[in-house]
Each structure stands twice: as C-alpha cells, then as structure tokens.
C-alpha cells in the first residue's frame, strides 16, 4: 500500500540553478532581542528539574510528576525511524529554562518590557488589544470576506514564560479559562491534575517524556459545558534566548457541548546552534464538544546549507473522549531545519470525528517528516486527512500517516488525500500511508497525487502579466486551497504570505 516517490528529472536547468542559489536571508524574522535572561543551569539532571519546579513555585505533586518523567527519559532512546537526518542533539548543552529577568509575570500589558513589545512589533504580531482588533484585508469577491472579522485573544509566550494575556476579562465572563499553564497549576490545580498527561502520557515517546520532565510554560484552556468560546484564542511562540530548548506544554479541554478555536503561530530568530523544540499539545473534547486547532509555523530553517535552523520534534494529540466530539488540526508548516510532527486524533467516543488538514513546505535543505495518526476506537467514528506537501530546492518532504481501525470501531470511515507538488528537480516527495484495519465493515479511501509545477502553467500565468514569484505563489496557493479554506480567515491571509516568502527564489 505504501508508495514511496522520488522524482529527480528536472523542469529546466535554470530552475535548478536558481533553486541552488537560494538564499536564506529571505527569513525576515531573524533578529534577537537584548533583554536579560535568567537561565537554568546548563544540562539535564534531577537538580535541573527541581530548579524549574521551584522557580515556578509548583506543588509537590507536579515536581514528583516531573521527576518520574525524568527517570523514565533516562531509559529511553531517541527515535531514528523518521526520514530525517540531523546532527545529534547535545542534551547536556541545553539550558532547560529561560525566563526574562524582569519577572515572570505582568499584571498588565503596560508592565511588559519595551524590548519585548518591540520584538513582537517587528514580527508583526498584534499584542495590544487595539491592534489585535484590526481587521484583515481580504478579497471581497470571496464569500469569506462577508464574514465578520473575528476577534483574537493573544497569550504571548516569550521564550518560556507567558508575558501577557489579553481579553482575559471577557473570557472570564463567558467562563472560559485561558492562561499560562503555570498559572493554571496554581489557580485550577484540580483541572490541571485531572487532564495533564491524560492524552499524551509521560512515557509516550522520547521527546514527550523529556517535555514532561522540563516543560517550562505553555497555554491552558478550559471551556465549560455548553459554552462557545466568544473569540479565537491565540498564542504566538517565539524563541529568543540563545541555546534555549523550548518545551511548551499546551492543554486544551472542551467540556460537554463546548466549542473553541485555537491558533498557534511560531517564528524564531536566527541562531548558529541548532535549537531543539519539543512541545507537547494535549486536546480533550468531551461529549458533543469541538476543538479546532490551527498552526502556522515559521521557524528559521537554517542557512542555505541547512545549518542553524530549528529542530522541531513535537507531540500533538487530540482525544475525542466524548460521543459526537470533534477535533480538527489544521497546519501550515514552512519553517524549521527538521520537522518531525504527527498531530493525531484518538477517536474514542462513538460518532466522534477527527480531521487533519496540512500544508508542509520545504525549501533549501529543509527536511520534514509529518503526517497524522487517526486512531478509531469508537463506533461510526470518522476521520478525514488532507495533506499538501510542497518541495523546492534540495529539500525532502515526507508524509507519513497512520489510520488504525480497532476491532470495536464498527462502521468507521476514513478518507485520505495526499498531494505533493514539486518545484524543481532536486527535491523529494514521499508518501507513506499505513493502514491497520481490524474491522470488516470499515470504509477506507486513499488518494495520492504527485505533480510538478509546470512550465506551461508558469508561462500561462506570466503571459497575463503576473511576475514569476507571484506566479509561483498563485499556483501554490491554488494547490493548497482545500486546506487554506479550513484556516480562520486572518490566519489564511497570513499563511498565504508565508508560503510566498518561503518559496522565494525557488524558480528562476
């Protein structure tokens, strides 16, 4: 069933030459902010874990939980099966905690150091409410433009500590809890204790276990029964301190009949040392609840030789715990030197639904190995996977998916569509779909295509007056349209421009 594709013949020599000359200074977010940072001692030991826990004044149970994960991690081996190659991560050279010196918490946005606000401004991230409320330019011809511009609440993570939370008051009125996970540990310990690690167990995998031991901060969301979260919730991640591993921990719980849409955006400054990112995201949807989780990821992919980029090893999993619950992952991946990521859904509740919509772009020497796992446990569970991979330069882009239908998942259904687009002749696209089916009446459909951006198309578009770079962007946007439609409007606009930036110089 697995088909492994590698296409080596070229469109034309100029294209290849241009792709080779690809320069990495396309990356606009490559700068760093000069603020004092408080580090954990370098390296990983029980003392490091205790340092982190005491910094955050954590309760005893959480320290124990971390130490247990640490013990476990010592016995584990780093996975090497993904189709990616990278220099070994030096786990003892990493600082496992970095907090801005001025203090980890701010009562109001006015207390946030000016440099931090500046950093966000350079990235074009709207932190202040007024800016957050700004609308988006959109094509009026699309029906989507008629939609009211949704509001977004931002929980900004600067390195490891959440520095500002907006809209909290209004969310509070609705009963929605939206705060950093370290605050939630103090303010809602019963919820955190109940759900933390309930989707991604401590021992799940090498990186998740490491995260469990040393996670620094992240976001906590709880939407009470029957509540539709009144706005999109959003966290922008940005790594700043040198040699800082990032270990975010996100936990989102939608109680019975609740709905929440969450946006995650990332961008990191240039670094010489490869930076490790090993986040864990856990989603829990109870009966009739729905969670939409959208990601636009733009970490630095490294220079033209692939040196210095972010290593992104993240564990994202959603648990459709209740009946008729639904979880959708939508992601746009353009950054990182190495990406290893499989947002997955465990379809436990009967009639629950899991969706995965993905756009992964690789250029230069990037390597991406991404995909999803849909685990069907309940009856009549349905899943849908649409993956669009775009490879340019000398990059490698792999889709790896697992659809697993367990014995009790009667009448389960899956639809999978994997499309790859190749730009130039030195890149690779690979599709590796696995299916495990223990149920006779399951319905599984799989479609896969690999196409090359054609000279015919490019010329046709240019003949109409559209310049080459814009022509590529237009064709690529067309290729990913089915997925872009699943992103919230303002995110879709951002994603489109990201696609364009990340493919600059890929044809010539």
């Amino acid at each position: 069933m697995a088909d492994d594709l590698r296409v080596k013949d070229s469109i034309d020599k100029d294209t290849v030459a241009a792709a080779k000359a690809l320069e990495s200074d396309n990356y606009e977010a490559g700068f760093s902010t000069d603020i004092e940072t408080e580090f954990a001692p370098q390296g990983l030991s029980p003392d490091t874990v205790r340092f982190i826990s005491s910094k955050k004044e954590e309760p005893e149970w959480l320290l124990e939980w971390r130490l247990k994960a640490y013990e476990r991690w010592l016995t584990m081996e780093e996975p090497d099966w993904a189709m990616v190659q990278y220099d070994p991560v030096k786990y003892q050279d990493i600082h496992y905690y970095a907090a801005p010196k001025a203090g980890a918490k701010y009562d109001s946005i006015d207390d946030v150091p000016e440099e931090i606000l500046e950093t966000y401004k350079k990235l074009g991230i709207p932190l202040r409410e007024a800016e957050v409320l700004l609308g988006v330019e959109g094509a009026a011809e699309t029906a989507a433009a008629a939609r009211e511009t949704p509001r977004v609440a931002v929980d900004a993570v600067f390195d490891s500590v959440s520095v500002a939370t907006t809209f909290r008051e209004e969310l509070k009125q609705a009963g929605v809890i939206f705060m950093s996970i370290s605050e939630a540990v103090h303010e809602h310990p019963e919820l955190v204790k109940k759900y933390l690690g309930s989707v991604v167990p401590q021992s799940d995998n090498f990186f998740a276990t490491l995260n469990s031991a040393v996670f620094s901060d992240g976001t906590f969301v709880y939407v009470p029964p029957g509540v539709r979260c009144p706005m999109e919730l959003s966290t922008y991640f940005r790594m700043n301190a040198e040699n800082t591993g990032q270990f975010e921990r996100t936990l989102i719980v939608a109680d019975k009949g609740a709905y929440v849409s969450y946006l995650e955006g990332c961008t990191a400054p240039m670094r010489d040392e490869n930076q490790l990112h090993a986040a864990v995201v856990e989603l829990v949807a109870l009966d009739d609840a729905e969670i939409k989780y959208s990601t636009v990821q733009n970490w630095w992919p490294g220079d033209e030789n692939g040196k210095g980029g972010i290593y992104n090893f993240v564990t994202k999993r959603g648990d459709c715990r209740g009946v008729r619950s639904k979880i959708s992952w939508t992601q746009v991946e353009t950054g990182s030197a190495v990406t290893w990521k499989y947002p997955s859904c465990v379809l436990r509740g009967d009639d629950s639904v899991g969706e995965f919509y993905s756009i992964a772009v690789t250029n230069g020497r990037q390597m991406a190995d991404t995909g999803t796992k849909m685990i069907h446990l309940g009856q009549r569970t349905r899943s849908r996977i649409i993956s669009k991979g775009i490879s340019a330069g000398r990059s490698d882009n792999t889709y790896r998916g697992l659809v697993s239908i367990h014995g009790k998942a009667e009448q389960a259904r899956n639809f999978t569509q994997c499309d790859s687009l190749l730009i130039g002749g030195d890149c690779g696209a690979h599709t590796v779909p696995y299916v495990e089916n223990r149920c006779a009446d399951a319905q599984l459909e799989h479609e896969a295509t690999t196409t090359k951006l054609s000279e015919d198309q490019l010329f046709y578009v240019r003949q109409r007056g559209i310049g080459e770079e814009e022509a590529v962007a237009l064709l690529v946007n067309g290729f990913v349209r089915d997925v872009l439609q699943h992103l919230p409007m303002e995110f879709a606009v951002e994603a489109q421009s990201l696609l364009k930036v990340s493919l600059e110089g890929s044809v010539g």
Binding site: D12, K13, D14, A139, A140, E141, T142, S454, E455, D456, Q457, F459, Y460, V461, R462, Q463, R464, G465, I466, G467, E468, E470, A471, L474, L475, N477, G478, F479, V480, R481, D482
Partner: protein, 255 residues
C-alpha cells in the same frame, strides 16, 4: 496609419537540447487599428510565432526584431510584455487548479496596473465589469468561481480566454486558433467579444485555419505562413481563395 507591431526577419528556434529552426526570416507589419489574419498549414510555425512574441521559455530568437509600438519586445520578460499590452489567447489554454477565474483575472489586472503605475481596481468595479463581460460571452457567474480552465469544455475554455482578454483590455492581442472547437453560436459570441476591442489604438493577429472565423472578425489583411515565413499576403479575398483551393496550390505557387 503608423506601424503598431513590427516584425523584421525573425529567425527563431525551438527546443533546449536540439534547437530546431522554425521561423525562417519572418517579416510582418500590423498598423494601429488593424486586424491581420495568419493562415497556414499545420506545423507552419503559427503557434511558434505567438510564443516567440510573448516570450515563452525555450523559444529563442536568433536574429531579427520584434517591436510593439516601438518597444523591443525581445528585451522584455513575458510579464513585462503583458503589461505593455500584449495578450495571447492560447491555442491550448492551461489548467490552473485551485485558482478561481475571478481571483486569477483580478491578480493579473492588478499586476499589470502596478507595473504601469496605476492604482488597483476596486472590488466592486471589478465585479461589475466581470459580470458585464461574462454576460456578453454567455459565461455564468458560477463558472467564474471555478478554478481556471479546470473541467471546462474546449469551447468554454476559449470563451474564458476571450473573457480574460476583455477584462485585461490589451493593446495588441494574438488569437491562436480561438475558433477551433467552437460551434457556430459560440463562434459568433466569441467574435462579437473580440470585435468590441477593435479600435484605432489597438491591433490584432488572428491565427486560424478556417475562413469561417473571418466572416465574423473581418481582417484588414490576410497572410499565409508556411515553413516559417510569410509567403503571400492579400486582402480578405485571399482567405476565400485558400478555402477553395487549399494551401497546396498557394504554397506551391509562392515557392
């Protein structure tokens, strides 16, 4: 009338690896306000001429010149030629998956306007104009929301080419066998769409096999292209003669 399109002794080859000379010293002048037809047997180099003029990769001009209103086309990128007002209605329109007709045309219009230093067209103006033109060409609004050329019939694709032409309002249009695959009603619709753009500031090259189209788009001149050269030129009566006698007679006579 002064010359709008001036082609002089064009020699051009096709193909990267083993270049093959297709145009063998082609000369042709189209004055402002005129429509010229180019007829000729299969493989004569008609489409090659259209690609050479629009700057397609792989079509190399070895010598000769091509000027549009005095500007050297051969110096420009394809998109610059388009912004200068050159439009090609493709013999085989290309599918653009995922890009709705409306999005495509609006992007093209604004790209051309940006090069010319003009402001973008507003969404309401664009939609108004698109509706009007679509209606004339018997294209439904629903069709304009679909990805360009994907799943359209041959005739619909040709009408979409003319739709784009009408929206972009080029100064000089090349129609490459726009009539092939059209039934008589569609042919009339397309011809009417083309005729709207005829005025003293514009010019047109109409490439066709059949005299039929020329009943609707009346050419000022007819040229016969064979083996990469214009072998004879005349008025509309030349097209009628070709229809009756076939290319063989005329090609043989000129040789």
């Amino acid at each position: 009338m002064p010359v709008m399109l001036e082609l002089k002794d064009l020699i051009a080859s096709v193909g990267d690896d083993e270049p093959k000379t297709i145009l063998n010293g082609l000369s042709l002048n189209v004055p402002f306000g005129e429509v010229h037809a180019i007829m000729g047997p299969n493989g004569a180099g008609k489409s090659t001429l259209s690609y050479v003029l629009t700057g397609r990769h792989g079509y190399d001009v070895l010598s000769g010149k091509a000027l549009l209103d005095g500007d050297d086309l051969l110096e420009m990128d394809p998109e610059a030629r388009a912004a200068a007002g050159l439009f090609l209605s493709f013999q085989y329109p290309v599918e653009i998956p995922g890009v709705p007709v409306m999005t495509f045309v609006r992007t093209a219009m604004n790209a051309q306007r940006a090069v010319r230093g003009e402001p973008e067209i507003s969404a309401p103006d664009f939609i108004k104009q698109a509706r009007l033109v679509a209606n004339e060409l018997k294209l439904t609004p629903d069709m304009l929301m679909r990805p360009l050329n994907v799943g359209f019939s041959g005739g619909e694709k040709k009408r979409l080419e003319i739709f784009q032409m009408r929206m972009l309002e080029p100064r000089f249009a090349i129609l490459d066998e726009t009539d092939s695959g059209l039934d008589i009603d569609a042919l009339r619709t397309v011809a009417e769409g083309v005729n709207v753009l005829r005025d003293e500031k514009r010019g047109m090259l109409v490439i066709t096999h059949y005299q039929r189209l020329l009943d609707y788009i009346k050419p000022d001149k007819v040229h016969v292209l064979s083996a990469g050269r214009i072998i004879t030129s005349g008025g509309p009566e030349l097209a009628l003669r070709l229809e009756k006698e076939g290319y063989d007679g005329i090609v043989g006579e000129a040789a």
